[in-house]
């Protein structure tokens, strides 16, 4: 199992680099890169458009990818799987299309305070356009959201509750299934941002009972430019298209059009078939390793880093004090050192970590920190990577001119 790194050509081509920014984007295994190349070498045509052999092949590859995604997240039907560019587009689709029909001036939209800007701005915009009220569900300092708080925040007017299954800052898994139950009793739909959860934990959208679930391929070891929106069929059926154009129609006259069946209604224009094929290969790759192994590896590494970090007095970890509640994402600050400088010192040692507000400015404001540094683990990381991380971490303050 220690050979997982060998599956990722980027590490062979960047010797000595420690990559701890997988929450931003994951590296791609050779099998994914090869699958995309094979699609373009051997099968490329415009899927759904042509009536010839190659186009049929391309269509098959694209639709097989949809089936792989369906299985991966446990959806009932491929009609519920819409391909998009990324989680951001998926969330915009859900907010806009569902919102257009179901939100009015007296509605409320509840958003978790830790949401990524991609799971906040679509609702800010929706609220501004409809006059709906935007409200926030707050967590405690450890990043925990409670059922009681949710219960209290919901009102008879709450139409949408938006929350990530795993926050990109806290790394903590939120109790989505419980929250979905509470929302549904209130007549509220739940939109779940799965961008940071799918790489780390198995997901079953039917069991979670979420109404919408969004994620990006690129954080899941697939290429950039392919994403997924899952939506419950009965909701998607009633929703208007998001984008208009080719491929998403049934019949068009000069003045009007009827729209194609699900999921094509939401896939206007030429699709990213190569990306979908890459996503299929990424899912196959994850399956070949298995979540049991992935979780075991990532938990062990998270714990290793976490324990070392906790022993350093000037380091402050954001969120839970329990390593098991971080899922490979550790966001932190160092007393007296700006996060950008932290990242720069790491970069000098060829260790890639991220610094800034991580597209979650309202959360940083809520926590009272200007910005943070974040290390995040992927399935290819190993003990050596964590040791290098800790080694550098211990030198940061000294290299920034402090005595220790």
């Amino acid at each position: 199992m220690t050979d997982i790194k060998k599956d990722f050509p980027i590490f062979g081509n960047n010797k000595g680099v420690v990559y701890l920014d997988s929450a931003a984007t994951a590296q791609k295994p050779k099998s994914v890169i090869d699958a995309v190349a094979k699609y373009y070498y051997e099968e490329n045509a415009n899927p759904l458009r042509g009536l010839y052999d190659l186009s049929v092949k391309a269509t098959e590859s694209y639709e097989n990818a949809r089936e792989a995604v369906r299985k991966f997240i446990g959806a009932k039907s491929t009609k519920e799987i819409v391909f998009t560019r990324n989680a951001t587009e998926s969330l915009n689709l859900a907010a806009n299309s569902y919102g257009r029909e179901n939100i009015c001036g007296c509605s409320e939209i509840l958003v978790a305070i830790s949401e990524h800007h991609s799971d906040l701005l679509p609702y800010q915009n929706l609220a501004a356009q409809t006059g709906a009220k935007l409200r926030f569900l707050e967590c405690d300092e450890f990043g925990e959201y409670t059922a009681e708080a949710l219960q209290k925040a919901l009102t008879p007017h709450t139409a949408i509750f938006a929350i990530a299954q795993v926050s990109n800052i806290f790394g903590r898994v939120n109790p989505i299934k419980e929250f979905a139950g509470i929302c549904h009793k209130n007549g509220t739909i739940i939109i779940c941002d799965g961008a940071q959860s799918v790489p780390h934990v198995p997901v079953d959208v039917v069991d979670l009972d979420v109404d919408f679930f969004a994620f990006s391929g690129h954080k899941l070891y697939a290429p950039m430019g392919i994403g997924v929106l899952y939506g419950k069929r009965e909701l998607l059926e009633k929703m208007p298209p998001f984008l208009y154009g080719g491929e998403m129609i049934e019949y068009v006259t000069r003045e009007s059009a009827t729209f194609a069946e699900l999921p094509h209604k939401f896939e206007a224009g030429t699709v990213n078939a190569g990306g979908a094929v890459g996503l299929h290969a990424a899912i196959d790759y994850i399956d070949s390793i298995g979540f049991e192994t992935i979780i075991k590896r990532e938990e062990a590494l998270t714990e290793l880093a976490f324990t070392e970090m906790q022993n350093i007095p000037y380091i402050n970890i954001i969120g839970s004090k329990n390593a098991h509640e971080h899922n490979g994402i550790i966001t932190f600050t160092i007393d007296g050192v700006h996060p950008h400088d932290i990242a720069a010192v790491f970069d000098a040692d060829s260790v890639a970590i991220r610094a800034g507000h991580h597209c979650a400015q309202p959360l940083h404001q809520y926590l009272g920190v200007q910005s943070t540094a974040r290390m995040s683990i992927g399935l290819y990381n190993d003990e050596k990577d964590i040791e290098r991380f800790i080694e550098t971490l211990k030198t940061v303050r000294r290299r920034m001119g402090y005595e220790r």
């Binding site: 700006h338 950008h340 400088d341 010192v345 800034g356 920034m400």
Partner: protein
């Protein structure tokens, strides 16, 4: 590469800034924002008869933006607005890698930030104070 970016001059101005404080006698102030990281600083100047009599800055930022602004103030206090503007132009030239050795001498300690030109992600940090200065001078001339 980024390690020699944090040279002693830069570290010293970051840890022990000379001009990081309020300025009661300020005749003008301007805020500068680095949208990519959310860092913000406010520059305060006291300008009399076209001469920068005193100056200071407040706000949060990384070592690069803090030190760069502190060094800038050290350099421009006592100078005329035109001289300060000329230094800003030289600083920009240095960051884009087009400065001559003589010009670099004029920048004195600000020359310690020359390596930033090789770190595109940090250019905004190094120029935050200088850009705010330029804005302030334009607004108050």
């Amino acid at each position: 590469m980024s390690d020699n970016m944090y040279n002693e001059i830069l570290l010293d101005h970051n840890l022990h800034p000379l001009h990081r404080c309020g300025l009661d006698c300020a005749t003008c102030s301007a805020a500068g924002l680095n949208p990519s990281c959310g860092d913000q600083l406010t520059l305060h100047l006291s300008i009399e008869d076209g001469v920068i009599k005193d100056g200071s800055f407040t706000g949060i930022g990384c070592a690069v933006s803090q030190a760069s602004t502190d060094i800038m103030l050290e350099l421009i206090i006592g100078k005329t607005a035109e001289q300060a503007q000329r230094l800003k132009t030289l600083f920009s030239k240095m960051i884009s890698g087009e400065i001559t050795d003589e010009e670099l001498d004029e920048l004195e300690e600000a020359g310690a930030l020359q390596n930033i030109s090789k770190m595109p992600a940090r250019v905004k940090c190094a120029t935050l104070g200088w850009n705010t200065l330029e804005k302030l001078l334009k607004e108050n001339s």
